[in-house]
């Protein structure tokens, strides 16, 4: 008897059909991967299975019994647990407290720590999770936090686990550990639904793979039957874009020079520690590092959004260390921020007003003191056409566009006004393959035209493929430089965690 059967699931949202005619059968004791592009409808489907919303059509069968969930509580009662992509843990509580939160065992009204600890240790040992219930969550690394999340779900009696993009936040070594855990779970008869768009990982860990494209199931395949490339083409439905640079366009004219830059956090820790590097015209410098190792602070310091404690930043040969962000932007610095909705857009403003954002003092958006609405609208139409932003018009609010189109819009905006330096933080995060290919194309063209680019990405293939020079940042320090032409993602991952920094040092 299969653990989960989904038949004919259809879910509509206003204006879009997120899922239609989904059919999936998940065998008990399997790791079943669901793959698809961003926006293909994987998360919507998993939310349906976890009871976060009801499907408009179709049936869900769990362990042979047809079910209808009206809330996650119902799903949990049926033995389904979900580990979200973004961890939901309270930093200032211990592992034990986080795990029992919401289903505390009590003894005469008092939290029964002893029972809880015994149960957690039992789970941890049974599945090789290796967690210590007494540790504070804030002291844990990303991999350990994820294991706490998994333990939390198991503690509530889940026999079917949904893992939503579990590897997105992990470095390769942590991914291997996670997969070892998943095999333990499997051998104990648990079922895992594994959502991902990283195909190598899926092929390594899954027993069966279901591909979702444009909201519906395309095919279910066995990993030994397919290659990563075939799987990708099933996902996209066509040929795949590849991140790569052709001939070098690197010049010897320095566009951005960072000298001995140090940035301290509020508690006095050096989050960017004595960093120096140069980006030349026509060069893309990739910055590799596990998230939270100072990339964000470095970028903010270069853009003038965060004060540096010491060191200099030069644009061309001008010292801009003391300049305001606006002045830096006026002199040709462009910035694709990591969090587009928080830092890149005014969600409730029309697109043409978003075109003005970041270029408030520049033509064609303004004429002296006045906002030039007509000029901004005209240029927004150009941008929408040139960068293939799918929108019915420029009066539409940014919030109405899909994530990929928002990102294409931001890329187009930042490329407007002939910038000389672009800082691109995760430029293709969360966008579909088509938009990703378009963004890479724009980066390549701008590079050929002499743009200097600082590229930050969690996608190691993108970093390796799109960089002329690749540097590794660890705990705020640049610890090495690797050659993007020869390095493999595994080697880069090792360098990012500090394991092999010494060997990888090239220059």
């Amino acid at each position: 008897m299969p653990a989960v059967e989904l038949h004919g699931i259809t879910k509509r949202f206003p204006g879009v059909v997120a899922n239609h005619d989904i059919d999936i059968v998940v065998q008990r004791g399997h790791v079943h991967a669901i793959v698809g592009e961003n926006g293909a409808g994987k998360s919507t489907l998993m939310k349906t299975l976890y009871g976060m919303h009801k499907p408009d059509e179709g049936t869900i069968v769990v362990n042979g019994k047809q079910v209808s969930f009206s809330s996650p509580a119902d799903a949990i009662a049926a033995g389904i647990g979900m580990v979200h992509q973004h961890f939901m843990l309270a930093d200032n509580l211990t592992v034990l407290e986080n795990i029992v939160l919401g289903s505390e065992p009590t003894h005469a009204g008092v939290l029964d720590v002893r029972t809880a600890r015994a149960k957690i240790n039992e789970i941890s040992a049974a599945y090789g999770l290796d967690i210590d219930p007494n540790e504070l969550v804030e002291t844990l690394g990303v991999g350990a936090r994820q294991r706490v999340e998994i333990c939390k779900v198991l503690y509530r009696g889940a026999r079917i686990l949904i893992l939503d993009e579990p590897t997105a936040v992990l470095v390769p070594q942590e991914v291997d550990e996670l997969f070892a855990n998943l095999r333990e779970l499997k051998s104990e008869g648990l079922t895992v639904l594994f959502i991902s768009h990283k195909l190598d990982e899926v092929l390594a860990v899954a027993d069966e793979i279901t591909v979702i494209r444009r909201g519906t199931t395309v095919r279910t395949v066995l990993p030994k039957e397919v290659t990563a490339h075939q799987l990708a083409e099933l996902m996209v439905g066509s040929e795949l874009p590849v991140p790569e640079l052709r001939e070098s366009t690197v010049t010897d004219i320095a566009e951005l020079t960072v000298e001995d830059l140090t940035v301290r956090s509020q508690d006095g820790r050096a989050v960017v520690d004595d960093v120096s590097f140069v980006i030349h015209k026509g060069e893309i410098v990739g910055l590799a590092g596990v998230e939270g190792n100072g990339q964000a602070e470095l970028v903010e310091a270069i853009m003038g959004l965060r004060a540096a404690e010491s060191g200099r930043v030069l644009l061309g040969d001008r010292d801009i260390s003391r300049w305001q962000t606006r002045q830096r932007r006026e002199r040709g610095m462009a910035y694709i921020p990591e969090d587009r909705q928080r830092n890149g857009l005014l969600l409730e403003a029309p697109l043409w007003e978003n075109r003005i954002l970041g270029h408030q003092t520049q033509r064609p958006n303004v004429r002296g003191f006045w906002i030039d609405g007509a000029g901004a609208k005209k240029d927004t139409r150009r941008l929408v056409a040139e960068f293939d932003v799918r929108t019915p018009g420029v009066d539409v609010e940014a919030a109405s566009l899909s994530g990929g189109n928002q990102q294409k819009f931001i890329v187009g905006r930042e490329m407007s006004g002939a910038p000389s330096l672009l800082i691109a933080s995760h430029p293709t995060r969360g966008v579909d393959v088509g938009a990703q290919a378009a963004i890479w194309d724009h980066l390549r063209n701008a590079r050929a035209a002499g743009l200097a680019v600082l590229l930050i990405s969690a996608d190691l293939d993108e970093l390796i493929g799109m960089s002329d020079t690749l540097r590794v940042i660890l705990r705020g320090r640049l610890v090495g430089e690797v050659d993007p032409r020869t390095v493999t993602p595994e080697q880069l991952g090792a360098a990012m965690t500090g394991a092999a920094a010494a060997e990888e040092k090239a220059s």
Binding site: T325, R326, P337, E353, R390, P392, V396, E397, G404
Partner: protein, 370 residues
């Protein structure tokens, strides 16, 4: 464009529905008390549309309008200036004392008084700004505290040995402003016998200025951008701290104008009896009702003033005139809810429209709205 017109129409409908709802709640309460709602409404309408009432309504609406504009400047940037009340009273008092103390030619005298009032209002609000950008103190807390400090400061300064002037047995005012510093009323409603504040035109001018600055200038763009998302504005190169300071200074300067129509057009001197506390808070309600939009605020100010004035007749009929405060309270609460519903409905509608428009060229466009 179509979206914006749609949204405007929806907002007007929302405001009218909120007003009707408030009327219904008030009627229900009247009915529960055993009064006839239709009698009360017809009484209020009859009294409120008398020429003399109309003059009073326009005069209070002028003052309310300025107060609401002062609040709205902050609101457009997500700043909550609760201190309009203290800023306006301190400004009126010091400007009154200044006007009574100096001798200047007609024309210049009025302008000087108004400038002093704006400077005082701006400085008092500037304290709030300094506390916020240097120490991170919430403007809500500091501005409300400064209201109390303003009350104390005024009481101290109004002692006869300092700036006070004993004009009657119990009444202490500032030195009266001579003729050269007064602004005569205008005869807008000829049969009334009383005149409308001459500074009503200043209020209208300020509304126009507000619209132009907020919607058509670079500064206004930065202001609105900061209000919509201060993180995005910061990233785009707006200095949010600088914007906080400028906005609070402008809000305070506008608050300084609130006392001017009455000071220069009617009382000619400051006393704590004519310039009562609460105007700044009324401004908050009216700014909310008018959606921080200069035209919307104008209608809201007139409605508010009409309710205030027409309720005066109710005591004669043994009905507590405080009943209109229920109307005013309900209308603000329900309009805030209605505007939020409209906002969500309009966004959902637009998303559907975008979905439809894109469904044709690109079938099965990506994903669900989050």
């Amino acid at each position: 464009m179509r979206d914006r017109l749609n949204r405007l129409a929806l907002n007007i409908v929302a405001a009218l529905l909120a007003a009707l709802f408030a009327g219904a709640v008030t009627s229900l309460i009247l009915w529960l008390r055993g009064d006839s709602p239709s009698f009360v409404i017809s009484q209020m309408w009859h009294y409120g549309t008398q020429p003399s009432s109309e003059v009073t309504i326009l005069n209070s609406a002028t003052v309310y309008y300025l107060s609401a504009l002062a609040v709205a400047i902050g609101f457009r940037m997500n700043l909550f200036n609760i201190g309009v009340d203290g800023q306006y009273r301190l400004a009126a008092m010091l400007a009154g004392a200044f006007g009574g103390a100096v001798a200047l030619p007609n024309g210049l005298h009025q302008i000087a008084i108004i400038v002093v009032a704006m400077l005082v209002g701006a400085s008092w609000a500037g304290l709030v700004a300094v506390l916020k950008v240097t120490r991170g103190v919430s403007e809500v807390i500091s501005s409300i505290m400064l209201n109390f400090i303003a009350t104390g400061l005024i009481a101290y300064l109004m002692r006869p040995t300092i700036l006070g002037h004993r004009s009657g047995a119990n009444d202490i005012t500032t030195e009266p402003i001579p003729k050269s510093g007064q602004v005569p009323g205008v005869n807008l409603i000829s049969s009334a016998g009383t005149k409308v504040y001459g500074l009503i035109f200043l209020a209208i001018g300020m509304g126009v200025l507000f619209h132009i600055v907020v919607n058509h200038t670079r500064f206004g763009f930065d202001l609105r951008a900061t209000g919509r998302s201060s993180s995005a504005a910061q990233t785009s190169g707006v200095s949010v701290k600088k914007m906080i300071v400028i906005t609070l200074l402008l809000s305070g300067a506008m608050a300084g104008l609130v006392g001017m129509p009455a000071l220069l057009g009617d009382s000619h001197s400051y006393s704590s009896i004519t310039f009562q506390t609460g105007l700044g808070f009324t401004g908050i309600a009216i700014a909310l009702l008018g959606r921080n939009n200069p035209v919307g605020i104008a209608f809201a100010a007139v409605l508010w003033a009409f309710l205030d004035q027409s309720a005066q007749i109710l005591d004669i009929n043994n009905i507590p005139k405080e009943i209109v405060q229920i109307t005013q309270g309900v209308v603000v609460l329900s309009v805030v809810i209605a505007y939020e519903l409209v906002r969500r409905a309009a966004l959902a509608r637009q998303q559907r429209r975008v979905g439809r428009a894109l469904a044709a060229p690109a079938p099965g466009m990506e994903g669900a709205p989050a």
